[in-house]
Symmetry: C2
DNA sequence: CGGGTGATGTCAGCTACTGACGTCAGAGTA
DNA sequence: TACTCTGACGTCAGTAGCTGACATCACCCG
């Protein structure tokens, strides 16, 4: 009822706008303040001026609220792989996909936001599991897009996993520092490592005498 | 009390032996019969002749009971990577790890068991998440073992992920059929694909005119 | 002005999981 | 034999994630 009163006073709208956004903001704040496990869905909803039931109408579960943009990222990656030039090798097409993701992450929210978010995720086993799930979906998306380009199995699936591995490793190095090389740049370095590690010729490791 | 009576009649032991094994068996049965989500922890415990509370003393959660052997598999993989010959390249050492895992899976339980288990896991999002978590732990284990061999970052992390990707892709192809090439053999094929896909020279894909 | 719609609130309920505490065989010890 | 201690389990009560059913009410459309 207090919500109705406020809404009536301020404007003629029944509820405050953008409930999803308010819930996301409240969740990020509380997860940072008290940790994911110590935060209840009811607390998030309360801070957003909503009820627990409404929380679960917007997000399938308590974890999902931190992965709201995952589907858009997935669509972006898939379409980037699909629209790579015909002359591109499977590896190049896959890399085009994760470079698109990289650009989106760097521009849309920035490194500082990614750092905060990653700290929350890293602190909770449940959230780490969910993140792996999203990355696996991304890998499957890349693999599917590669198959549409005529890449056969198991190569497509393998390439999808490899692309995501490069992305993951680079992303972790990127968020580990406040400044320094950009995500796209770090992905280039990881690519070079991949080439070196899978080369036919064994490399000489400088070993101590 | 009925438990006590039975135990007194049968033998002087207070409880039936191997509660963990009984719980695992009951869980596999019920997950197959009714599905993971439709099975409660209390039902599993009841079938095993135990209480729900005891279930959670043996397994951290309802998912974990399907991943009981994961830590042993992890130890096996890590020690296999560590004990690869000094002359082995990082890729070869990592492959030695997952080949050890492959041998263990083929011998210890067999393909039929793996098929049944995989069907259960594939049918439940929660279980798929947990599986990804175990695979990520495996990848991290391989990466750690590689670092001890002198492989630097981000190469070690990347190699760990790649090894697990090969393992995962091969495993999925292995359990997809009742007979045919063994897991180790399929891993060899996946390796060849990897080499082809990451080669410097672009391959010619036979494209329709 | 009346009815349909959609987003929300309210309430009741299930299940995963946990902490505290009681119980009792078996092992060790005198 | 008697005494204690420990470990594995049972019992009970409670929290929190999540869901279904139903009520409410601004808004839109005719």
């Amino acid at each position: 009822m207090s919500v109705t009163v406020i809404a009536t006073i301020c404007r003629m709208t029944r509820w405050e706008p953008d409930p999803r956004g308010r819930l996301e903001k409240a969740a990020m704040e509380l997860y940072r303040e008290r940790g994911f496990e110590q935060t209840t869905a009811a607390q998030i909803a309360e801070r957003a001026g909503l009820t627990e039931r409404t929380f679960f109408r917007h997000f399938a579960d308590k974890r999902e609220i931190l992965f709201a943009g995952a589907t858009q990222l997935q669509d972006l990656v898939v379409s980037a792989v699909a629209s790579a030039p015909d002359s591109a090798t499977p590896l190049e097409a896959a890399i085009a996909g994760i470079e698109a993701a990289s650009a989106m992450l760097e521009e849309l929210r920035g490194r500082a936001f990614a750092r905060q978010r990653q700290a929350i995720v890293a602190a909770s086993p449940e959230l780490r599991e969910r993140e792996l799930d999203k990355l696996a979906a991304l890998a499957a998306g890349v693999a599917g897009a590669l198959r549409k380009r005529g890449v056969g199995d198991p190569g497509a699936a393998l390439m999808g996993d490899i692309a995501i591995a490069i992305f993951r490793v680079s992303f972790e190095r990127w968020v580990a520092r406040r400044s320094g090389p950009g995500l796209t740049e770090l992905m280039g370095e990881s690519m070079a490592e991949l080439r070196a590690l899978t080369a036919e010729e064994p490399l000489v490791v400088d070993a101590p005498a």
